[in-house]
């Protein structure tokens, strides 16, 4: 198990790597990657029972990333976990690369091909039903965007997951309150989100989405028997880079040379701070 400091360091290094691969590819969903990276850090380093050596193990936990566009964050974490060499990310979005701009099963560690929104929760629900049929101990996790919740298929699945009492299913909403056009509340309001999920029969908790300790506690906690659960994670798009934070233009913005330098300088300063505190 990583220490809290090690985990905090990873969150900064992951951000560095996300920006590097997006710069290199000339494309990527920077804002959403940065809003979900702390959630993925905690999932892959503290919660999910998955490993590169036995990814085909039928008893592994399943993770389905419904907000497929934040794929760079997922790739970076999978590389760190040893699913493939980090150098493979140099081919992101290149001609014939397996590392496309949305997750595909051609990449080791990816469960399902996603990218069209509103697909992850129904698939995860099917997985969780399969687990229940087999009385299995493995669990299913899925990450949704808050803008994505305008897709009706999510609510079809929400209804089914409660109907089938899928307490082996955890959804996490990366609630950064922004989507490509602007504020989610202006594009298509979805609050009160907690009440919506609760009305569908889910156990709901809000969790600060960049607090590694709070995320660890929440995602490691036991489920409420007989109910699927959702964590509405309050996040900031572009989190960790001052000038990218909470700005819709960074939905798929690629940093310029100057922006890249400034972003790295911010991250390096925090890394130095972290290492100074740890020393």
């Amino acid at each position: 198990m990583h220490t809290d400091t090690e985990l905090a360091r990873k969150s900064l290094l992951y951000r560095r790597e996300i920006l590097r691969v997006i710069r290199r590819a000339g494309a990527g969903h920077t804002g959403g990657d940065l809003s979900c990276i702390d959630i993925l850090n905690v999932l892959y380093n503290r919660v999910l029972r998955v490993a590169p050596a036995d990814f085909s193990d039928p008893d592994r936990d399943r993770y389905v990333q419904s907000k497929g566009h934040s794929v760079e964050a997922l790739y970076v974490v999978l590389a760190d976990r040893g699913f493939f060499p980090a150098a493979a990310l140099d081919t992101l979005s290149h001609y014939r690369s397996h590392f496309a701009g949305h997750p595909t099963r051609d990449v080791p560690g990816i469960e399902q091909n996603t990218g069209a929104l509103g697909h992850g929760l129904p698939i995860a629900t099917g997985m969780a039903i399969a687990g229940k049929l087999d009385s299995a101990a493995w669990r299913v996790f899925t990450l949704l965007g808050d803008g994505e919740l305008a897709e009706g298929s999510n609510w079809e699945a929400a209804m089914a997951a409660a109907h089938y009492k899928l307490d082996n299913l955890t959804a996490i909403v990366d609630c950064n309150t922004l989507q490509i056009t602007g504020r989610t509340r202006d594009v298509m309001g979805n609050e009160p989100l907690d009440a919506k999920w609760a009305a569908f029969g889910w156990a709901v908790r809000r969790v600060p989405g960049h607090d590694l300790g709070a995320l660890t506690a929440a995602l490691s906690s036991p489920p409420e028997p007989g109910r699927p659960r959702v964590f509405v994670a309050d996040t900031r798009k572009g989190s960790g880079i001052s000038f990218m934070e909470d700005a819709a233009r960074w939905h798929h913005g690629v940093p310029t040379d100057d922006e890249y330098k400034r972003a790295l300088a911010e991250l390096d300063a925090r890394l130095a701070q972290l290492e100074g505190a740890a020393a």
Binding site: H119, T125, L133
Partner: protein, 333 residues
């Protein structure tokens, strides 16, 4: 709703069928449900997944016999296919059963991404397909499904012609490693297959042979092509090859190209818009081959489809023994 159509759409067709010794059989959907139940009794990983469709899917006995193997998702076709994909990814063999009109239109993105692209070996079962729900109007017709699904990579498309082909297709789908779409109507059908010839997935079946014209048909129209062949031989001495094509994709290209080489005319017949269906698939093959017999593509034209029973709609568009025979005459003379 209109009564289920008889396979024989005219007294003359009934006479030809009697002469051939064809006897009315069961609806393919009944054979599907019975075959699935038998398979599921032997394998607890085989599941029926329904969207409030167990009645029309004839799966009430399945649900009674194996309640733990029937997953109901309610009236939610997108979720039906998404859940089925998730089940399949975890080692289950789900048969997602829903009226073809909804399954292949409302849930098309789930079919494309969650079944085909993610390569989850779901069996998609489109019931009451074509104009089986003819009187209910265009909302309930599925005359687009071949076209929509043919353009999706990694999906087998099958439309069995009779009870024998249905049994073979369901058994094939149950053991398929990749996603499959099965299309069934609800009319009682005559068995026209030679049961001595085993069902081979992806192979067209020659029901009778001749070199004047080839009649290439699929699903519930094959019976009419078979009757037309007998009628043409009897009334005009015209010898037709009838090819039953249970697999629209992958298409049995060698069988189609043999027919193009060996027969003077080709007529395709399907319960589908001519756009993007079996006929156009055959035409594309033939156009790129060295042999160019005259062709006629029978199906539903690009217009607002009439309503009525399946038999009435077939008669309206000439998807009958007489209609197919007239098409052959028009090509040969």
């Amino acid at each position: 709703m209109s009564a289920p159509a008889s396979p024989m759409h005219s007294p003359e067709a009934a006479r030809v069928a009697a002469r051939l010794g064809l006897r009315p059989g069961r609806a393919n959907i009944d054979v599907f449900a019975g075959t699935l139940l038998a398979l599921a009794r032997a394998d607890r990983n085989i599941l029926a997944v329904t969207s409030d469709s167990r009645g029309s899917g004839k799966l009430v006995p399945f649900g009674d016999a194996l309640p733990a193997q029937l997953i109901e998702v309610g009236i939610a076709e997108q979720n039906l296919v998404g859940i089925a994909a998730g089940l399949a990814s975890c080692g289950k063999k789900p048969f997602a059963v829903s009226p073809a009109c909804f399954l292949t239109a409302r849930a098309l993105e789930q079919v494309k991404n969650d079944a085909a692209y993610s390569d989850n070996p779901v069996v998609l079962v489109g019931i009451s397909a074509g104009v089986s729900y003819g009187a209910l109007g265009t909302t309930h017709h599925s005359l687009h499904d071949f076209a929509a699904l043919r353009a999706i990579n990694n999906l087998t498309i099958m439309a069995p012609a009779d009870n024998f082909e249905t049994c073979g297709a369901v058994r094939h789908a149950a053991s398929a490693a990749h996603p499959v779409y099965l299309r069934f109507g609800k009319a009682p059908l005559c068995d026209i297959s030679n049961p001595a010839e085993p069902f081979v997935a992806g192979k067209a079946r020659v029901l009778c042979d001749g070199a004047d014209a080839a009649l290439i048909a699929t699903g519930e129209t094959v019976i009419h092509a078979r009757l037309a062949a007998a009628y043409l031989r009897e009334t005009a001495g015209i010898a037709c090859r009838v090819l039953s094509v249970p697999a629209i994709k992958p298409l049995d290209a060698p069988a189609i190209l043999d027919a193009a080489r060996e027969c003077r005319a080709l007529v395709t017949v399907e319960e589908h818009m001519v756009s993007g269906g079996l006929g156009e698939a055959c035409a594309a093959l033939v156009a790129q081959s060295p042999h160019h017999p005259r062709m006629r593509l029978l199906g539903i034209p690009d217009e607002r489809t009439v309503t009525g029973s399946q038999a009435e709609i077939f008669r309206h568009y000439g998807l009958t023994m007489e209609g197919v025979a007239a098409a052959v005459h028009s090509l040969l003379f």
